[in-house]
Symmetry: C2
Subunit: 356 residues, 2 copies
């Protein structure tokens, strides 16, 4: 694995000495700079912080190690304090300064403004670290990059204190939308799912149903109006190509929201040809059955086949065998209501004709 090992230590000469002895490639030195942390955590003032930072940085550099200096809780720190501290550590040759939204309070435009300002103050790299308490960890990372940050802290599935930090997969989703060629040339994103599954397994969590890219809903399409366009051209409703990540899309047919275009496409996959009016009626029947009981994809296939069979045979088969008497009764009632759908189709046709 092409990776550097850095260790995270407090801004303390004692910690730094021990860390250097472990043989790591570099040190991430951190100290809280907000009044909250200065009062309730370490109890030091800004002058002490600046002097200790310089002492630690000079020591680490004298040992030939890489060093990043970061404030903690940067977004609740005094801006002038912060910039003067960063200017001082930049001057003594720190490799990278870090800003951290330790409590997850920062908003995207605030991040952009702070990083933009910092970019004008230091010449070293800028690392950023965002917690996700208020749901902006990905957006904040992206705004930081737009403003000139060079590094973003991520973790697999975003795992970290409280509800976590910027997730690797979510940031990839954001970045591939912004610049697909760059992402494909730099990252082996087809491995994302494997890495996430491995970590989820080790820490004993489930990958959330709505997880970026790899969650089971990420590329699932359900609404009829969407399904038609997706089948025509996926880019209409997909900004990310699932294939880039080694994933595939799933157009959900069996649902109240099923559109006849999805059923037509599925029927064609099953090599069943009908007229548009027949596809539409078949779709209405599927909707009616789905109103009565949960149906799976296989059920849809079998309904399409039976509907087609019934069109060409004198002996009518039940569309979905095995309905309970109660379900059959409910289905008959719902079927009766299909008149409304027909009327809607007529209105639609009229409207389309008017438009043409």
């Amino acid at each position: 694995m092409r990776a550097k090992i850095l260790t995270h230590v407090r801004c303390h000469l004692g910690d730094a000495k021990i860390a250097v002895e472990t043989g790591v490639d570099g040190l991430d030195v951190v100290i809280g700079t907000s009044s909250h942390l200065r009062e309730h955590s370490h109890g030091k003032d800004m002058e002490y912080i600046k002097n200790t930072a310089i002492e630690v940085i000079e020591f680490v550099k004298s040992k030939g190690k890489e060093i990043r200096f970061s404030s903690e809780d940067s977004f609740r720190s005094d801006l002038v304090d912060l910039l003067s501290l960063y200017a001082a550590v930049d001057k003594v040759g720190v490799d990278r300064v870090g800003i951290a939204d330790t409590v997850g309070c920062a908003s995207p435009r605030q991040v952009y403004d702070l990083v933009r300002t910092l970019r004008g103050v230091v010449s070293c790299d800028i690392e950023t670290h965002f917690h996700n308490d208020s749901g902006c960890a990905i957006a904040n990372a992206f705004c930081a990059l737009e403003a000139g940050a060079t590094h973003v802290d991520t973790s697999v599935l975003g795992i970290g204190e409280r509800n976590g930090i910027t997730p690797l997969g979510g940031l990839m989703a954001r970045m591939i939308v912004a610049d697909r060629d760059y992402v494909l040339s730099r990252y082996n994103i087809k491995k994302l799912k494997e890495v996430e599954d491995l970590v989820a397994d080790l820490v004993e969590v489930n990958v959330p149903f709505n997880n970026y890219i790899t969650g089971f809903c990420a590329f699932t399409h359900k609404a009829g109006i969407h399904a038609k366009a997706i089948l025509n051209n996926p880019s209409t409703y997909e900004i990310i190509d699932p294939k880039d990540f080694g994933m595939s899309r799933y157009v959900h047919f069996a649902s109240r929201l099923t559109g006849w275009n999805a059923i037509k496409s599925r029927a064609e996959q099953l090599d069943i040809k009908m007229s548009d009016a027949q596809y539409k009626e078949c779709t209405a029947k599927i909707k009616a059955i789905a109103d009565v009981r949960k149906i799976a994809l296989d059920d849809t296939d079998s309904i399409i086949r039976t509907y087609y069979h019934n069109l060409h045979s004198e002996q009518e088969k039940p569309l979905l065998p095995g309905l309970t008497p109660e379900e059959a009764k409910k289905f008959a009632e719902v079927e009766k209501g299909l008149g409304g759908l027909k009327e809607q189709r007529e209105l639609e046709t009229a409207a389309n004709a008017g438009a043409a």
Copy 2:
């Protein structure tokens, strides 16, 4: 429930007529305006869209219903087309215009700019709708509000097409950080967990481990450096007070990252008083055991109690009974390594003394 019922229909006089007859309070009329959707979905040009929109709006208003007009895929639409369309519908008295990031491609600063511009063009309300494909649905909603939007579409747990839209809970997390008094005066946020559990149950998904506010990690603190400050003053590492949502925080003791301050606080809860040096040694022992096998909160309590007992008794008890011979051997090895920790503590004390 104090709610209006609005129905979502295509920008079609036929659809609008049926919708009005259902007795809803209002209509959300939508049409795709990006070239992607104009080519691959409905196939209409902008002139047709504008004329149909005006026709539908005038019809719906003549029936005394509320009407919102929204473009779909607004962020991949031509800006001039979009603004001219919105200006036209605003002029005929639409109640609200909507912009929608249908594919989840928009970034926060882009949202801010578009909504800001739109705010100068129309005088009606502005509704916004953000999908979460690239992880910005909450951030985009927040930037839209900052830019003058009046409405944000949300759903419970963000459930919607693909990986969903702005989640209600996540937006509450973002908003309470921005303006706690406003959120507490407007929303009964103590109900959030109940609503989420209900919906998760109905649609058969698990609430993600890292869900905003209600996920089991949302208010869990683990790192030693954090635990100390959280016990001192929760606002050091929490931007959201879990109590506002009827939740509570959990400081995780049994972990490699346990700090002695957390153990001290826990011991005090258990009415066990020791010296700081003893708390530190007890903490080191807990870390050593946690290295050997997974321990739960109860285990930590029992280790603290046994450690305290051993201090005052000639007969030493094992800190964690029931270790396998292999675990016991490993624990003895790890315990031997605790010298390093002592050394670190001495360095720390020296550094602190130097600073004082």
